[in-house]
Symmetry: C2
Subunit: 384 residues, 2 copies
């Protein structure tokens, strides 16, 4: 068997999510609880009735790619040739990393806490990964100087997710400019930035930064999973400068051939409809404010979300987040993801997804506080 | 950039297919022209309306995997744990090869003529590929002794597609027994067989062989693309013995996370409906007979299809199939795939897909015969 497959684990997030019992409060898996807009599905079925369900070209339907490129208008990825439509942002990240990186010499710099897939994918490809972590004492904010100091002679790619899964922090436009500026003047082979924008439509601050607006060597990955409650549709894309974009299409062609034509038809409707990508954005904005309010009364230390749909809460320093997640699942009927899944620096934290009904989110946070911040919890929630 | 991505080409089949002009007769891309059954789509939309469009577990919906395993009833892949649901059979083959093969030592033995993806995927992973070819003088029949003689000390996997793309030949039950028997008694680490069964529902002979029925180290890949005219849905699966099956799920999880939930709901309906996988089989059987009749009158040398929806015709020996395909596309408005795409041994052949309206198939074959077997063509079709 392939020793690289053997060496990496499966998904800890999925392992914890699988502990859910009927009646458990689910603050685990990162997917929306809203229902998607159903008319897109019916329109796509009508098109199947008329023209069947055939392959698109490997890169994805031309009109969809034009719509995606035009929607974002990134200066170095402004045409259909810069887009590759993929099976969710998971395949988008996979083919981007696989295409860009030479395992014989290139190193990936991963900004943690981070969704575990980036590192697992790199290890699967035999690519060296160097990690650095945003600092707990700075509430896990993205710090340009810290990121730039992580660069070595071998760094070919910096990977970050903003809005961040798990922390909910968003990199600022100023921070992006500072990093892009430093990368632009350093000379030598360019260092690419992979900016995972999958939570772009869940951004609650005004000055969010986007690398692709200012830095030519940016690969953007994104999907409709989070914005439009379409996780199960598996439709995503990469935006990349040429000629990398064409090479990404080639890798994608051999891995999955092309993305689902049905899903592409739904995506084309969304990109052709003004405001459709933001159709759930107001809900997330209101909900994030409610969750911050609950957390402020919980007695738990937390990171206030600037984006995404997570809130992270601290356990006592030194406590195992995995053990806490198991205790919560088994004894408190609360599914929460242990911080260690996102990097060693997040060991004493839990990631809470707050898309369940608000009463359940409140009750789940209450149970966590009762167990891990008992004095505060008693005061603030009342005795149980 | 990753030198392995750089080194492999894109799809020659797609390149030729892209030469199609309005009005061209399309005997190119390997996808059905029938429309899929639309009620599956509406039922799937109803389920989205009720329960949204969320992820399934990485391996795929449990009930779907149970249905798939039960449908085939292969003795060493009889339960849901043996199944991984994928983004088409393309991802199925990709994750199977990537999971099984250690690039540092394992060699893949590919039986040609063969769909180019197998070799391209192996090269993308840095896996050594040894090819052998079914023989033209034997009309490209699968020959057990020849395949067994191709095995070396490093062979870990034998890859074949039956019914075969491109030749339309089907491996017999006796040939499968002979190969399986020899592999079973050889000792040492097992050699796996990857049997791509994607054309299983287009089989026109009675004694087709299936490795998974008799050989424990068989990986089956398949999809609904060809059987149910669902190429664009991107739904496929692997069937594999344990513990390989679990490792395949792990690779799949990091590459695409999970297959489309929407597509899985359609697949579950098909597997739960008696005869639904065969709903187009009669059409293909009748059509294959008509095509053989046309070919017999064409003056072209051809391989009569025992399965799949291709017919292969010979050019004069030594003629470049790529040049012929270009001539046909540009001067005769006929799209046909050059044999060289499937291996050097198929250089003087063209692959013709015969799913277009029968008059177009007849006219396309007529134009090919007129150009490449002019004397025969004149006699049999009448002067043009």
């Amino acid at each position: 068997m392939n020793p690289k497959v053997d060496a990496i684990g499966g998904s800890l997030i999925r392992e914890i999510a699988a502990r859910k019992k009927p009646g458990s409060i689910d603050l685990g898996l990162g997917e929306p609880s809203l229902l998607p807009t159903i008319r897109y599905f019916y329109a796509a079925v009508n098109s199947v009735e008329k023209s069947g369900m055939r392959y698109t070209v490997n890169a994805g339907d031309l009109r969809l790619r034009e719509l995606i490129a035009a929607h974002y208008g990134y200066p170095h990825a402004a045409s259909a040739e810069n887009v590759c439509v993929t099976t969710g942002s998971q395949e988008a990240v996979y083919v981007a990393i696989k295409t860009l990186m030479d395992p014989a010499k290139d190193e990936m710099l991963l900004v943690e806490p981070a969704f575990p897939a980036y590192k697992k994918m790199a290890l699967l490809e035999g690519i060296a990964v160097r990690t650095l972590s945003n600092r707990e004492e700075n509430d896990f904010a993205f710090e340009p100087r810290r990121i730039l100091e992580g660069i070595t002679d071998r760094t070919r790619l910096i990977v970050l997710c903003s809005p961040c899964n798990p922390t909910g922090r968003v990199i600022s436009a100023a921070a992006v400019r500072e990093i892009a500026g430093a990368l632009s003047v350093r000379g030598g082979d360019p260092i690419y930035v992979l900016h995972d924008e999958v939570y772009r439509e869940q951004t609650y601050i005004a000055d969010a930064g986007y690398f692709a607006q200012v830095y030519p060597y940016t690969i953007v990955t994104n999907s409709l999973s989070k914005s439009n409650a379409l996780t199960g549709l598996r439709i995503g894309w990469t935006l990349a400068p040429k000629p990398l974009a064409a090479a990404i299409v080639k890798t994608h062609a051999w891995v999955t051939s092309c993305a689902s034509t049905y899903a592409q038809r739904i995506a084309a409707q969304i990109f052709a409809t003004a405001g459709a990508l933001q159709e759930h954005a107001a809900w997330y904005g209101e909900r994030s404010a409610s969750v911050v309010d609950i957390l402020q009364h919980s007695g738990l230390r937390f990171v206030a979300p600037e984006g995404a749909f997570y809130a992270c809460v601290a356990l006592e320093r030194g406590r195992s987040s995995l053990q806490a997640a198991h205790e919560l699942a088994d004894e408190e009927d609360v599914i929460a993801i242990p911080g260690v899944a996102f990097g060693a620096s997040f060991e004493s934290w839990l990631r809470l997804t707050w898309v369940a009904p608000l009463d359940e989110v409140r009750e789940g946070i209450h149970r966590i506080a009762r167990r891990y911040a008992p004095e505060a919890g008693k005061t603030l929630f009342g005795a149980t």
